[in-house]
Each structure stands twice: as C-alpha cells, then as structure tokens.
Amino acid sequence: MAQQTGAPRVATGTAAPIRTTKRVRRRVRMQPYLFLLPSLVFLATFTYYPILFSLRLSLYQASATVAHPTFVGLRNYTALWADPIFRQVVANSFEFLAGTVPVTMALSLTLAMLLNRAHFLTTPFRTAFFYPTLLPLIGAAAIWLFVYTPGYGLMDVYLHRLVGGGINWLGSPTLALPVVMILTIWKNAGYYMLFYLAGLQTIPAELFEAGRIEGASWWRQFQAITWPLLGPTTLFVLVIASISAFQSVDQIWLMTSGGPDNRTNLLLFFIYLVGFQFFDLGKAATLTVFLLAVLMAIAALSFGFLERRIHYEV
C-alpha cells in the first residue's frame, strides 16, 4: 500500500515551506495541475467529450430516416433489450471473454515460468512466443484466414488424418467463434507473458531457496510463493485481457464479418455495423454506452473487490 499513499502527498504540495509569499505558494500549487494539463486536454478531447456526446446521443433517434435527431428518452435502451441480435451479440461477447481470458492467462503464466530460468535457449524461445505481439492483428488474422481454409489450409492439411478433411472452420456455427478465440489467444499470450516474466523477476530468489531447504515441492512453492506474489500482475493482466476481449473487432471484421448466422458478432463489431453501415447513430450510441458500462464494471470489480485480497508487499 506504500506506493498508493505516497503518490498523493506530492501532488497536494503541502510540503512547501511555511514562510513563502502567496504568489510562490500558488505557483507551487498550480504546478502539478500544469503538468497534468496536456493529458487532460487529450483525455477531454478524445475520451470525456465523446463519452458525454454518446450519452446524449443515446437519448435521441438519429438514423438515416430522420433529418434532425429527435429526443426519445430511454426508448433506444428498451428497444435494444427487445433486439434478439443484440442479445445474441452480448452472449457471444461473454462467451468470447470466458473462452479467451482464462486460457490466455494460464498459457502466458506457464510460458513465463518455463522461460524464467537462464538457459541458452531462453532468449530464442522468448522471442518466438513474443513475436505474434509484434504483428498487427489484421495481418495475423489474414494469415489465420489461410490457416483455416478448408481443404488446403494448414489446419486441414495437418488434421486431415485425425479428424478428416474439409472442415469449414470459419463457416460452422459451432466452430467459428472458438476458432477466432484460438487466433486471439495465440496473438495475446506472448504479450501477457512479458508481464508475468517481469513479475517473476521481482520475486526474491531467497524465498524459493528457503522453500527448497524446507523441502517444499514444486507445486507447494508455486502455491505459497509464486502465485500469491504474482497477485498484482495477475490482477493487471486480468483487467487488460478482459477489456481487450470486449474490444475485439479486427479479427472479426477480417475473418467472419460477424457470421455465420451472427455467431461471431461481438459487441464492438456490432457497434461498427449499426453506426457505419446502418447509420443508426442513436442505436450505435446506446450500444457504446452499454459497452462503456461493461468495461467500467470490469474495472470496478477488479480493482474494488479483488484488490483487497492481493498482497502488494513482499
């Protein structure tokens, strides 16, 4: 908790000497705000203003049919709930979250633990696992589009003998979403591995040494030392991964366009469809507010609830 109480003290500026003129004191008090100003300008322009604008627009009917937006109160919100595609999109998005986040985190933690030791192969392996992060998602999706091509894509060529060929990976309503999840996990695992590697480096070696002397098994060491001390990292990765799951759009746009039969239509892609293809800006704003509420709920849940159970000090 030390870091947290430490930060505000600097910002309030109470450390200034008592015998100073008003002017100097004021300048001291203004200084932190001046430092914050550039970020504030950017946040206000690109985050806060659009949020307020979306909130306001979500109360209006603003689509291709109406010349001027008309105020309709909460009707956009009630209409959203009655929209079966919206309900399917929400279900898809939570399925995507549940299918990608835990697996990605488990995989990146495992990779990090395997690659934490010094070995002559460590660096090549770290590079290999990290490299998908360096690819733009849209490029990675284009590669995987080929991997999943029925008949002569990599997947079919190698799985041919096991499960029979000609599987329509991206066209099957049952397989399409899992298949997009696999690409997403592959893309993100290396990135979160970096956080876990950094987390592992901060755990003092003496702890493991002491554990070994006491005769603790590998699993016992993981339970008692590694996992608790990686708590802050896990929390951070959980939040980032969950938010990124809800913001997935590139791979959907390129690989499935939300199909087949809306099975891969995720929230952000749906917003794009409604806003920029159907030009129903009121509904798109309503969806945006919903997405925002979900993201804020994830952040609130993680930092408010989980944080209390996490050790920050070693």
Partner: protein, 435 residues
C-alpha cells in the same frame, strides 16, 4: 524578453496559418471538385483511376477534379455520409449503386434528368445497358450513372468437364442440368472424403448478392422497385433457397454449412487450385482467374430455373446536393467524359468490370481485349437477361437479415420457411417507417 516571446508566438501562428491555407486557392480560378471513389482491390485500379482523372484535368482547363481514395464501398459510403452530415458534402462520388434510397433519405443527392436531357436525352441514356440503369431510377428520376459495374457469372473448368465426359463448350443451362453436371464432377476418395467439389456458390457472405440471381431465376419478386417493401418468404424464394440446400445436403455436390464471409474469397481460390469444377463468382474476378488458372476454363450464364437471371452489382456516379450549381455542372462534365465509350472501355479493360455502354464494344481496344479474353463477352451478354439488384431503404440492414436467414437455414438452425418468415417479419418492421 516578453515582447520578443510574444512576437515569436505571433510569427509562429502566422506561419501555421499560412501553411493551413489550401493550396488550391493559388491555382487558377476554375471550379475545383472533390471526388470520392472506392476501390475494392487497391493497387492497379487505384493507379488507373488517378491516371484517368489526370487526363480529364489535362483536357479540361476550367475544372480540376481532386480524387479522394476512400477505401472500400462501405468506407466510402460512411465517409460521404459523414461529410454530408457535417455540411461539407463531396461534389461527386462513386458509391455502391443500391445505396440510392439511403442517399435520398438523407437528401444527399440530386436527380440527373436535366443534365441527361442536355447531353442527348433518351438516345444518350439508351446506349447504357438497361439492366445497369434499373437501380439508378426511383420515383421517375434517374439518380446515378453506371460506372464500375459487375455481375456474378458462372465459371467452369473445361478440363474437368472433358474428364467427366461433359461438353466443355457449354455450361449447364438450367438447375436440373446443374445438378447432373455437379454429380458427375464431384469426386470422392476411398474414405468418402470429397477431393473435388462439383459446384461452389457464395450465395450469402456479408451481403446477399449471388442468392439474388437464384431468386430472379426462380421468378421471385422479392422487393419493391420503389424501395418500400420486400417479399422474402414467397414460394419462389423458398424454392431458390431450398435448391441451395439440396445442392449441399441432398446431392452433396456443394460444401455443406453456411456460406461464410471467408467463403467469398475462398471460392475463386478453390477454382484455381482445382478443388472445384464450377463456381459462381463476380466478373471482377475474371482477371484473377485468367492470370492464375493453369487450365482451360470458360464462363457461362448463371443456369436458369424459370428464366435466366443475375443481379447487377458495383458502383455508380452520384452528384451531391447542397453544393454550388457551377460545381454540379462541372461534376456532370466529369461524369460525361468518364463514361464516354473510349474512357469507359479503358476502365473495363483495365479492371475487368463489365462494359457499361453498347458502343463500348465497338471501341477497337475492346475488340482486342475480347480476342484475349473471349469470356468477357459472356458477362456482357448476360447483362441482357440480368435483373435488378435489391435497392431499398435501409438496404444494408435488411440485406443482413436475408444473409442471417440463409445462413440459419444452411446451418440447420431454422427450416427454410421459418428462416425466410423471420427475415420477412424483421424487414417489414424496419420498413414500416417508410409506408
């Protein structure tokens, strides 16, 4: 110090202000046009468009067209709509032709009847293929001039036809023949896995395009020419969709399951990889197939049911409302020049889009092109039997309902009739506001 600082700031501000003044103010006093255009596949098409615009600017001293490459059709439409809403519309644009009612609902475009009358009237307009003008018209006015137009056609592998004992010079004429051909052309290995499919039709990927050919062939009247209603659940429409499902599940000559977004790009790939004998694909892929196929191939009409039929597709020229009259006039001179037979032929040859005018065929460059690619004539001939592509209010939204219905039937989630009934219900609800 203070003064110098302020002067410095003033100087900097002036410098920035000068830099921001549009360069075009320094050019001649002529009319300057902002022209938005989409390119489905970037690269050579983009280069050709820039060349043609430069040629226009070089021969028309009073007008300067500034081409703005705006992405694919969806992106270009989004950009144009945003500009319209912001009160700064482009002057002229190539947009997806079925967006007509979306543009009218926003009061974004002007009718072109007066300009057409000045340019030779009916005689001038009649030189365009009438199928391409079907969805340029609404409420008795013409709103767009055809430009980069395409249509789905039927490609087949002649060598596979020969091996199967079929006549390699002729495509199947109707649905019954299609089934017979496809059954002969589907090859399975000893384990029952298909190594060569008979036919592939991307009937509904992200938009319901190729399916509209089947709907027209079955005789379905599935939308209102004035854009206010659709009829997706007629017996004819159900027959068309059932035929697709039969190809997949009953005759097993077409890969099973929903025709996904990825399938659209996969179909021409499968064709050149010789994984399939016959495909439905856009004329826009003819150049791709010609350069990559290592076998003899041919093109035919989409096989008929009650009649032949294929939807048209692609983009047309629109002129925008709420811009000065002189710019609208200049925009028309640009459209007229671009669609003149020599220019139109240059674009068709360079891109593979279908000819838009009958006189284009007699251009010598086009005759040479036909010697090289005789199959291009099939696409042109099919235009005579082509129908109108669904052009209605909220066309993207309702199109997605039809895509969903088709994919739901293909995946087996809904029966053909239930899927089409649901699309009909949802579409009727959306279109209610236009009644």
């Amino acid at each position: 110090m203070v003064i110098r600082g302020r002067l410095g700031a003033l100087g900097l501000a002036l410098l920035v202000a000068v830099a921001l003044v549009p360069v075009r103010a320094g050019a001649q006093a002529g009319v300057s046009l902002r022209y938005y255009y989409p390119v489905g596949a970037s690269g050579p098409l983009n280069k050709l468009m820039t060349e043609m615009v430069n040629d226009f600017n070089g021969t028309h001293p009073g007008v300067r067209v500034e081409p703005v490459f705006a992405g694919n059709y969806v992106e270009t439409m989004a950009k144009a709509m945003t500009a319209v809403q912001g009160g700064a519309p482009p002057d002229v644009a190539v947009l997806d032709t079925p967006e007509l009612f979306s543009l009218l609902d926003r009061n974004a475009i002007i009718p072109l009847d007066d300009f057409i009358a000045q340019s030779g009237g009916k005689a001038w307009l009649d030189d365009f293929y009438q199928a391409l003008l079907l969805n340029a018209r609404a409420n008795g006015h013409v709103y767009s001039i055809p430009w980069q137009r395409s249509t789905p056609i039927f490609y087949y592998n002649k060598e596979m036809f020969q091996k199967a004992g079929l006549d390699p010079e002729h495509a199947p004429k109707n649905w019954t023949e299609l089934v017979q051909y496809a059954q002969k052309l589907t090859i399975r290995d000893s384990s029952g896995t298909v190594t060569q499919w008979g036919v592939e039709a991307p009937v509904a990927d992200t938009s319901p395009w190729v399916i509209q050919g089947f709907l027209i062939e079955a005789g379905a009247k599935y939308f209102d020419p004035n854009g206010k209603w659709v009829k997706f659940n007629s017996p004819e429409a159900a027959r068309a969709l059932q035929f697709i499902l039969d190809l997949q599940n009953k005759y097993k000559v077409h890969p099973p399951g929903p025709t996904s977004a990825a399938f659209w790009g996969q179909v021409p790939q499968d064709f050149i990889q010789q994984k399939v004998a016959m495909i439905y694909s856009t004329t826009g892929n003819m150049t791709f197939i010609r350069t990559n196929a290592k076998f003899e191939w041919n093109a035919g009409f989409m096989p008929a049911d009650k009649q032949y039929g294929a939807p048209t597709g692609g983009g047309s020229f629109y002129i925008f409302d709420k811009i000065p009259r002189e710019r609208q006039v200049a925009a028309w001179s640009f459209i007229r020049w671009m669609t003149d037979p020599p220019q139109a032929a240059r674009w068709s040859i360079g891109t593979g889009y279908v000819p838009i005018r009958k006189t284009e065929l007699s251009a010598s460059a086009f005759k040479d092109y036909l010697k090289l690619v005789p199959q291009a004539l099939t696409a042109t001939l099919q235009l005579r039997v082509a129908g109108e592509q669904m052009t209605i209010h909220d066309v993207d939204q309702i199109g997605l309902l039809l895509v969903t219905a088709i994919q739901a039937a293909q995946s087996g989630r809904l029966s053909v009739q239930a899927a089409l009934d649901q699309a009909q219900r949802d579409a009727t609800q959306i279109l209610q506001k236009y009644q």
